[in-house]
């Protein structure tokens, strides 16, 4: 058994240690908010946080997250209340097709956790591993910067 926390909830999984974390989340835990875009760590659609760090869950073997705290898009809203970054993604039109959105939100969330007042360059760097084909990134960057204003 491999035990870890997902969005604050402790889970134990009976799976080979080499199984992809992405598959465990989607197929074992039914948490399909985390997406697969490429399966080789290039697109960031599967981004989740492990102990606060952004990782591509398609490149992580589940055996590596033993006793770690994971955060996924499903854990962002609390009691049905959207977090600031989720709300600005809606308000600024940062989600179009939405397939990159969960990963993008996790990358943005991690950034804002460690740096509540990022510059535009900080934002571009933070989401540099998350591909979006719909928005040209303009409104995603605006939405993240808007959270900075709200936070301060």
């Amino acid at each position: 058994m491999i035990a870890f926390k997902v969005n604050g909830v402790r889970v134990s999984i009976d799976a080979p240690g080499a199984r992809r974390l992405l598959d465990v989340l989607r197929e074992e835990l039914g948490m399909t908010g985390t997406k697969e875009g490429c399966g080789e760590g290039e697109c960031g659609a599967c981004s989740v946080l492990i102990d606060g760090e952004v990782v591509n869950s398609c490149l992580v073997a589940v055996g590596q997250v033993e006793e770690c705290a994971l955060e996924t898009v499903e854990g962002l809203a609390r009691d049905g209340e959207l977090t600031a970054i989720q709300q600005t993604f809606i308000d600024y039109g940062a989600a179009q097709c939405g397939i990159c959105t969960p990963g993008m939100l996790m990358a943005a969330h991690a950034l804002l956790q460690r740096n509540p007042t990022p510059s535009e360059t900080d934002v571009r760097m933070a989401i540099g591993g998350n591909l979006c084909r719909c928005t040209g990134y303009t409104k995603i960057i605006e939405a993240i910067l808007a959270c900075r204003t709200r936070a301060s």
Binding site: R26, G30, M31, T32, G33, T34, K35, E36, G37, C38, G39, E40, E42, C43, A45, T72, V73, E74, L76, A77, L82, Q86, Q87, F89, I90, D91, Y92, G93, A95, Q96, C97, G98, I99, C100, T101, P102, L105, V123, R124, M125, I127, G128, G129, N130, L131, C132, R133, C134, T135, G136, Y137, T138, K139, I140, I141
Partner: protein
Amino acid sequence: MAVPLPSEEAKASVGVSVPRREGHDKVTGRARYTDDLEFPDAWRGKTVRSTIPRGKLKSLTLDPAFDWAQVVVVTAADVPGENVVQLIKDDQPALAEREIHHREEPLALIAGPDRDTLEAAARHVRIEYQSLDPVLHLEHATRELARVDIDKGDVDHALQEADTIVEREFRAGHQEQLYIEPQGAIAVPSDDGGITIYGSLQCPYYVHKAVVRALGLPDDRVVVVPAEVGGAFGGKEEYPSLVAIHAALLAVKAKRPVRLVYERHEDIAATTKRHPAVVRHRTGVTKDGTLVAQDIEFVLDGGAYCTLSPVVLSRGAIHAAGPYSCPNVRIRARALATNTPPNGAFRGFGAPQSQFAAELMVEHVAEALGMSSIDLRREWMLRVGDTTATSQQLNESVGTELVLDAALQNAPPVAVPSAPNLRHGRGVSLVYHGSGFTGSGEKYLASTVAIECTAEREFRVLTSQTEMGQGTNTILSQIAANALGVPYETVTVAPQDTSIVPNSGPTVASRTVMVVGALLADAARELRDKLTTERPPMRVDKTYVQPEWIQWDDERYHGDAYPAFAFQCTVADVQVDLDTGEVRVTNLVAALDPGRAIHPVMAEGQVEGGVLQAVGYATLEEMKMEDGGFVNDRLATYIIPTSLDAPKIKTVLVENPYSGGPFGAKGIGEIPMDGPAPAVMAAIHDATGIWLDELPATPEKLLVALST
């Protein structure tokens, strides 16, 4: 909540950036895309493809070393209906029988309980081929898939009279749509022998027709339901028909749901791309810069099958002269077949290739005349009353001057180089893009929409227009709400399930807002009028009737090609590193005439996203081909722009209503893709003095040009 009666006083929702309908689900991870849908006893499917670009299939055998009882295998012999993928021509089989025309040709399908079993099974399929010499390059292609000839005036005579003739050849390569959600479909068989398809697709009724035909089922036994779609850009216009047929064939044989979701590398290797193109221009002008003749040859590489090449060619050809008024135009357009994976729909649909050439041609003529290319555009550009290459007189909503002025006014000062190896430059382009199907296309399509009102006075929009990120659910609700005179919140959109919604045509061709939206607004107004005298529930269906004034000659390619055009001017600033040949697009201004922006934030979003795809087309995105297959079929090797590559993009919407559009709106889905590539290439010239007439401007090409 008390639902108000329709009234003229209800708050207008058109022109307001209301919350996206499915926005909440998309930011919480609750939106369900194809691969998120759960079917507990579903198997997975896999496609076995050719490994040679051309030849004959001698045999396909199953190695007895594998236990085939664990899986099901489908070959051409198992296709119960016609073995074709329904589209313009019937040339593409669902599964190859004998002839192999490209390297990714599907030969067999396997379904099994898990990935490992599938992979093991696929390794035990033995295929014997007889190879034939393939045609891999457009230069060697001779078989014509489609042709379009457009003639206006007398080009030969005008060229004789011209003071200056400029000739130039332009090239563009493949481009991959690269929606972040790969292709996928799930087929679920029912007890009555029917089948339901859930999938990532733009055109539910295209898929419906294709599955009905290949499976040999009656219309009412096939239902197509789009899941949430994770990007499409044309890439999910026709290809999903093939994926759906494959999933359906497997599901019927396996007697259980089958999930066929492509891995990224298969998606890049096998699915349709933007057509590579060669465009040759001869342009005649007088000494003072008057445009007298445009002689244009436009050739597309269609790949192995016809797919949508005739219509891509048509749209590319119609836009090939650019948004300019010229009395004498000759356009000769051909799509030729090669033994490469078939090319197909991609945002812009031929116009990005042809207008890339047209816009750089303006630059070359300006240089030959010693004039500013902006002045030349002002001299040549279409204005109200002018005629296009197809002799269509434009009578309203011609935004050329508006967008040119707006883009130039909003462009910041050109940057000053910060290091000796850096050069900065600026380029401008002006493009147009017709909304809706070409010519008589909408007449033949005869789309139907419906709107209904329940007894509780809740309104529901019924169309087959899919939401793929561009905002259909939201915008059609806004249009209906405005026409009904009710709040946006009281209108919902029915799922685009073919058993529920009428066929309002495909979600393509910049047609959803202008064509379907106008039809919906008509239906909504009729419903509003009926509600003043009758009690709900009630429903109004409305079928498109082409306005009398639209006259189009399919034979001569003459007349009103599109009811209206959107216009865009792009100003692109680049920084070129002379040491590395690297081009960075640093800043980009796009001024666009959308007629009317139904939802300004989403309209900007369309522009920004399309513009960045075009920046990728101009600078990064290059499919490398070897032996008829794509070498860089992975995201690590096919590079699209990241947030670090993306320029600052400023969008300026210059409203200029079109009387036939809903509240004045025209289509803007595709035009953002048309203009940035030539603007970037002109900016590279401005920075370095080098004309690259071939997309993309890779460091390799630029370094070669810089060293000569």
